[in-house]
């Protein structure tokens, strides 16, 4: 709205005038256009995947569930057949169908590389053969190890069964051998991937993708009254830098350190804008807000409220009690103790640190209209701390001998980045990995609530002149409208998810609509948004924010509090109040 821009410029971003919305806003404002464009992609995804479930999906799911149920009633531990049935069910995915694989070819990000960046987009037959030759030994060894472990597990299980599963020593031995087989079995798929490399050339697909989304966003821009042609031409440059950002992420060491595409997109963008300058012909395509808002509408579809029950009540307590407390207290600390001048920076860092890193920072920054350099700063802080915490936390947990489930819950709730949580969990053990990744997933769902609450709070309380009373209509005028699309997408997909049931939804929604299309598009839009941020940011703009090291202090204090609180609540929930859940894992 006009009043935001004018009031923002003249009154240090405090909105004092009443705004008005008209029907014209529906096709001239970025917020609304982002909703239409996001929903168009979501509808396309539903139309592609809903009518095309994998062959015999229901039958195979029922078969696996029946086996697990029977095995569970038979033995006091998860048998070999139980695990085989669980794996078989896990393998049913809508994305494994030919049409989904064709779509995926366009969205495939640059591949991993170590020293030659070209390896990320092109691999010859000879290079693939050489990689396969190197991986062959490892694959054969992994297969042999898994086969030997399976035989041992089956023998132990039979011995326990022969004793009617009443001999605790035999039961324990069987459980240990089965766990060893599960671990050995898990290594096969990666070893197989290393021995079955195929040649590829991603360049034509990337060009195709650039054309598709150049036209897609160009049409949106044209409807809003901007030039399609100018946007389309500049878009290729922004897209190219976004691809380079992906290549930054897939470099072997950077991948291990968790330095993802958002960081690289900002770095590459800033490097260009602060040296040779962002070329004039590129500027019409530098559309940070448009890309972010459309991406956030798509992200809304991934916020499935049913996920909060994934690990039962203890998961809800750890993720949904500790996180809001930390978020509010960190924000309060920033305002009352550190006296941070920028409330938007304060809340963006607080959400980034307490909820789930980059994705929470994006959603919160967009909801409170934070400045792009504030979002950049929050993400930079988060990535540096994540790289440290993902090694330090499992090391500390090992040092004190923390149980796997507690360590997983603790790391899952406190490490910022969603992916780094899994890495830290894996560092500790497989059960810790699963618990950490699941607790983080539950916490991820919070970003919908956080973004909505922050948007309302900012409209009703923060973006006001002193003593100004704001009516609910005024709040509506000021409300960032794309948040409606974000929340609506979450509600619609949560309802679909609930109605389908956990197993079918996992196949069609999780491993279909979302992973087969919308999630890939959302990730690309965020990469384009971060590239745009870099391309319009000057290094000097960071100077005022770094004064006194307040963002750093805020982050450290908030993170320390979260570490202590989550450990305490995690112990109480997983080892005192809901111990039966822990025992079942």
């Amino acid at each position: 709205m006009e009043r935001i821009a004018s009031a923002a410029a003249e009154h240090d971003y405090v909105v004092i005038e009443s705004g008005k919305t008209t029907l014209k806003d529906l096709y001239t404002r970025e917020d609304w256009m982002a909703i239409w464009m996001g929903f168009l992609i979501l509808i396309i995804g539903l139309l592609i995947f809903l009518p095309r479930p994998p062959m015999k999906m229901a039958e195979n799911i029922a078969k696996s569930n029946a086996i697990m149920k029977a095995e569970a009633t038979m033995a006091p531990f998860k048998t070999v057949a139980w695990h085989q049935a669980a794996n078989a069910k896990k393998g049913i995915k809508a994305t494994d169908q030919p049409f989904a694989k064709t779509i995926q070819k366009y969205f495939n990000p640059p591949s991993g590389w170590t020293s030659n960046p070209l390896d990320a987009v092109y691999r010859s037959q000879a290079a693939a053969d050489a990689l396969n030759a190197r991986g062959k030994d490892g694959f054969e060894k992994a297969q042999a190890a898994a086969a030997a472990a399976l035989t041992k597990a089956q023998i132990s299980e039979e011995a326990a069964a022969a004793a009617g599963f009443s001999d605790t020593t035999l039961n324990a031995q069987a459980e240990t051998d089965i766990a060893a087989w599960v671990a050995a079995n898990g290594k096969i798929s990666k070893a197989k991937a290393k021995a079955t490399n195929k040649p590829f050339n991603r360049i034509p697909y990337l060009i195709g993708l650039a054309v598709i989304f150049g036209i897609f966003f160009g049409i949106g821009k044209a409807i809003m009254g901007q030039s399609f042609g100018k946007f389309f031409v500049g878009f290729f440059f922004v897209f190219f830098i976004a691809v380079l950002a992906y290549m930054g992420e897939t470099q072997t060491t950077m991948k291990h350190w968790g330095f993802g595409f958002p960081l690289w997109a900002i770095i590459f963008g800033m490097l260009i804008s602060n040296t040779i300058g962002t070329p004039k012909w590129v500027q019409p395509a530098v559309s940070t807000e448009f890309f972010i808002k459309t991406g956030l509408v798509l992200l809304g579809a991934e916020i499935l409220m049913g996920k909060i029950l994934a690990i039962g009540k203890p998961g809800i307590f750890v993720a949904w009690i500790c996180t809001p407390i930390t978020l509010i207290l960190t924000y309060w600390f920033g305002q009352k103790v550190l006296k941070m001048a920028s409330k938007t920076l304060n809340i963006t860092i607080s959400a980034d640190m307490s909820v789930c890193g980059v994705s929470a920072a994006i959603a919160t920054a967009a909801a409170c209209r934070a400045k792009k350099e504030e979002l950049t700063l929050a993400i930079g802080l988060s990535m540096v701390f994540t790289a440290i915490m993902m090694v330090a936390q499992p090391a500390f947990a090992k040092l004190v001998g923390m149980p796997e489930v507690l360590a997983g819950a603790w790391m899952g709730s406190t490490i910022d980045s969603t992916g780094a949580v899994a890495a830290a969990g894996a560092f500790y053990g497989e059960k810790a990995l699963y618990v950490a990744a699941t607790v983080k997933m539950i916490q991820n769902v919070l970003i919908g609530v956080t973004a909505f609450c922050v948007a309302v709070y900012w409209c009703a309380k923060v973006d006001c002149a002193p003593n100004q009373k704001v009516s609910w209509w005024e709040v509506w005028y000021r409300f960032p409208k794309f948040v409606i699309g974000f929340i609506l997408a979450s509600i619609i997909f949560s309802v679909i998810d609930q109605n389908m049931g956990k197993d079918v939804s996992s196949v069609i929604i999780d491993n279909g609509v979302l992973k087969g299309l919308t999630k890939n598009a959302r990730e690309l839009f965020f990469a384009l948004a971060f590239t745009s941020i870099g391309l319009e940011t000057n290094f000097k703009e960071f100077k005022p924010y770094l004064k006194g090291g307040k963002p750093f202090t805020l982050y450290v204090v908030g993170q320390s509090f979260q570490l202590a609180l989550t450990l305490l609540v995690g112990y109480i929930m997983f080892y005192i109040v809901f111990i039966e859940v822990t025992n079942a894992l």
């Binding site: 990666k190 993802g260 993902m390 560092f427």
Partner: protein, 100 residues
């Protein structure tokens, strides 16, 4: 989010400057870009060397490769570990082994 005005494009500015200065300024800008890219390459190379010498980082790298993880994932749908973890926990709670 609010955007500040874009940084000034040196090339555009130089275009309107006296012609003699343009090539020099343009060259300096590109040299700065090349230096920046060189520093990033150096950082990656240094990080690789550093990672190979710290045992904890070596173990972490091994685990990441073994479980095919993506530490930079920004949402749970961006990596398969979340789906696997959820499936494992769901099945463990839905079909728990009988009590001994």
């Amino acid at each position: 989010m609010r955007s500040n005005p874009s940084p000034i494009d040196p090339l555009q500015v130089e275009d309107s400057a006296p012609r003699v200065l343009v090539p020099g300024a343009r060259l300096r800008a590109y040299i700065r870009l090349a230096i920046g890219l060189g520093l990033l390459a150096l950082f990656m190379a240094g990080a690789t060397l550093f990672s190979a010498r710290v045992p904890a980082l070596v173990t972490m790298a091994e685990r990441i490769e073994t479980y095919d993880l993506r530490p930079s994932a920004i949402y749970y749908t961006d990596h398969k570990a979340a789906a696997e973890g959820e499936a494992f926990i769901h099945d463990s709670l839905a079909y728990p082994p009988r009590k001994p």
